[in-house]
């Protein structure tokens, strides 16, 4: 796999969604939907989703809810923000310290140094091996209380004021909080879309995968990118639903790349099993995908891991074509942006 598809970077400038669609006078389900079936691309609106899903389709969604994971912090070199990524234990989290929403830093950190975060004391333990922007941080108090008191959703520089509240970062499927960033592929799903899907007997199963901070890795030097693991659960009922859809040759469509990672992590070479733990599985074309036939996703920065997964699902050429099509037609990027349905070719 190429580290980054240069044609994507050199192409027309991508357009970020700087605000949620609600702030642009749209309902959540009124974002645009690019439907890619093989080499055919159709332009639609998200609430028309039902028309593009074959009868018998099984949708698999992520029920993880978003945390107010961005905390104010101050240390030796002044104030900064600490974005929580993944919980390892009551008092140990993997975190991304940043200068600000727009500026990642790097901050001049050393292992063992202490700092203040949301009124409690904390300590940088060690950088994540191979990803020095992420640090293990040990906290002296309750991270949950700190989030409740002072946490904000993690926002990046492209989000414009008025800053969206935490509720803007929850999907309709959100149940248990645990994600540093919204599993955003499901954001356009609305009550009415769910009703239409139910009407057409399109079943929905769920996994839980708590996302960490968004990946910015590249595969430097042609090796595999460094991925950090994320907590996931594939319930027995979901494993059974996916296996039975596959037996009946009904399409399984993942809502979000988190769903693909969770299901592929629970695949044993023959079927999907109930599973729970942490996963950093790298889904790429050589490994292939075994559990899903299609994907609903947003448009994201073309980082190595996201692209590799798209290539594994759609094929490298097809994925690049779809991105070109989206850019030519000014689709909006990022978590508040437009949506992309990648369907298997018929026949």
């Amino acid at each position: 796999m190429k580290p980054l598809d240069q044609s994507l970077l050199a192409g027309p400038k991508l357009r970020s969604a700087a605000t949620p669609p609600e702030a642009r006078g749209l309902e959540r389900d009124e974002v645009r939907l690019l439907v890619s079936t093989g080499d055919r691309h159709e332009h639609a609106v998200f609430h028309e989703l039902e028309h593009f899903l074959p009868a018998g389709t099984l949708l698999v969604v992520n029920t993880s809810a978003t945390l107010p994971a961005s905390l104010p912090a101050s240390g030796r070199f002044g104030s900064f923000i600490l974005n929580l990524s993944s919980r390892y234990g009551e008092q140990l989290w993997l975190c991304e310290p940043r200068l600000s929403a727009a500026h990642p830093g790097p901050l001049p950190l050393t292992a063992g140094e202490t700092f203040e975060v949301a009124g409690m004391s904390a300590r940088f333990v060690a950088p994540y091996p191979g990803l020095p922007r992420l640090w293990f941080v040990a906290f002296d108090g309750s991270v949950e209380i700190a989030m409740a008191d002072e946490g904000e959703p993690i926002r990046y520089g492209y989000v414009e004021p008025p800053l969206p509240p935490l509720s803007a970062y929850q999907t309709i499927f959100a149940e248990r909080p645990g994600s540093a960033e919204m599993p955003s592929a499901a954001r356009p799903f609305s009550r009415r879309v769910l009703e239409e899907l139910a009407w057409r007997n399109i079943a929905i199963a769920s996994i839980e995968l708590h996302t960490g901070v968004s990946s910015l890795e590249t595969t430097d030097g042609g090796g595999e990118p460094v991925l950090y693991p994320e907590p996931f659960i594939v319930p027995a009922a979901t494993a059974a639903a996916v296996n039975s859809a596959r037996r009946d040759r009904r399409p399984v469509i993942a809502v979000g790349t988190t769903v693909v990672r969770a299901l592929e992590s629970a695949w044993d070479g023959h079927q999907v099993n109930a599973a729970s733990g942490f996963t950093r599985l790298f889904v790429e074309p050589k490994r292939g995908v075994h559990t899903i036939d299609g994907l609903i996703t947003g448009f994201h920065d073309p980082n190595a891991t996201h692209l590799a997964m798209l290539h594994a699902i759609a094929g490298e050429g097809r994925a690049a074509e779809a991105y070109d099509e989206a850019m030519r037609n000014e689709y909006l990027w990022h978590e508040f942006g437009d949506s992309h349905l990648i369907l298997p070719r018929i026949g």
Partner: protein, 239 residues
């Protein structure tokens, strides 16, 4: 109440990396290795970071030394984590089983198999009191059948069986037992297995720290009896 860990083979490689990582999380440490010079220098470095460290040089195959280690943990108030990491490789370069001197194999079993069990036996009262975790460091040689790795691999395969059996036996006492295969790493032992070869493409032991962070955050019952590969893409708990 602080947590305490006892790590064998702690002056370098995986043991040292883990000791540093746990100290950063405020564990008190009992560390041991055979060479007093290396161990004391390493322990001093950690102590300078403001952490409580007791370093006791010696051979884990020696029963008296094992008792001293457990006594040291007692002076720190108890024991939450025992990491049986110290291992010997056997002859370097590696020799096939048909040529492995039996005394060398006996030494392998004494260090890699009997010593971990001896430490478990000696430390069990302390571990029970804290519902602690025992980690026995294993290897893919335990399952691989790789030429030259037979003696070492057999000691680790037997250690794996001790781990699963102990997990069953100690469940009632609330003590967890897991086997961990850290995978290939750039360590002195790995260099001994490949004398003269360039092993710089192997990752440093720090690459396994996310796994250790994860393991220590899990409930004992969710992990006990399992065998983990620290460099795998997925670490699963019991359903």
């Amino acid at each position: 109440m602080g947590r305490t860990a006892l790590i064998t083979g702690a002056s370098r490689g995986l043991g040292a990396a883990l000791a540093r990582f746990l100290a950063g999380q405020d564990f008190d440490l009992v560390l041991t290795a055979r060479g007093a010079g290396n161990l004391d220098a390493f322990a001093r470095g950690i102590r300078n970071g403001g952490h409580r460290v007791v370093a006791v040089a010696g051979d884990v195959a020696d029963d008296g030394h094992r008792r001293r280690l457990v006594a040291a943990a007692e002076t720190l108030g108890g024991l939450d984590l025992l990491v049986n990491n110290a291992s010997e490789l056997g002859p370097s370069p590696l020799v096939s089983l048909s040529e492995l001197p039996l005394p060398a194999f006996e030494r392998l079993l004494a260090v890699n198999l009997l010593a971990p069990l001896g430490l478990v036996q000696a430390a069990l009262p302390l571990l029970s009191a804290r519902q602690g975790l025992i980690v026995n460091v294993s290897s893919d040689a335990a399952v691989g059948g790789y030429p030259g790795w037979g003696g070492y691999g057999a000691s680790k395969a037997a250690l794996d069986l001790l781990s699963t059996t102990l997990a069953s036996e100690l469940k009632e006492r609330g003590v967890g037992v897991v086997a961990v295969d850290p995978g290939d790493m750039r360590t002195a032992m790995h260099q001994l297995a490949f004398p003269g070869e360039d092993i710089s493409n192997r990752p440093l032991p720090e690459v396994t720290m996310p796994f250790w962070a994860w393991l220590l955050g899990q409930a004992r019952n969710d992990v006990t009896g399992r065998r983990y590969r620290a460099q795998d893409a997925t670490w699963e708990i019991a359903q």
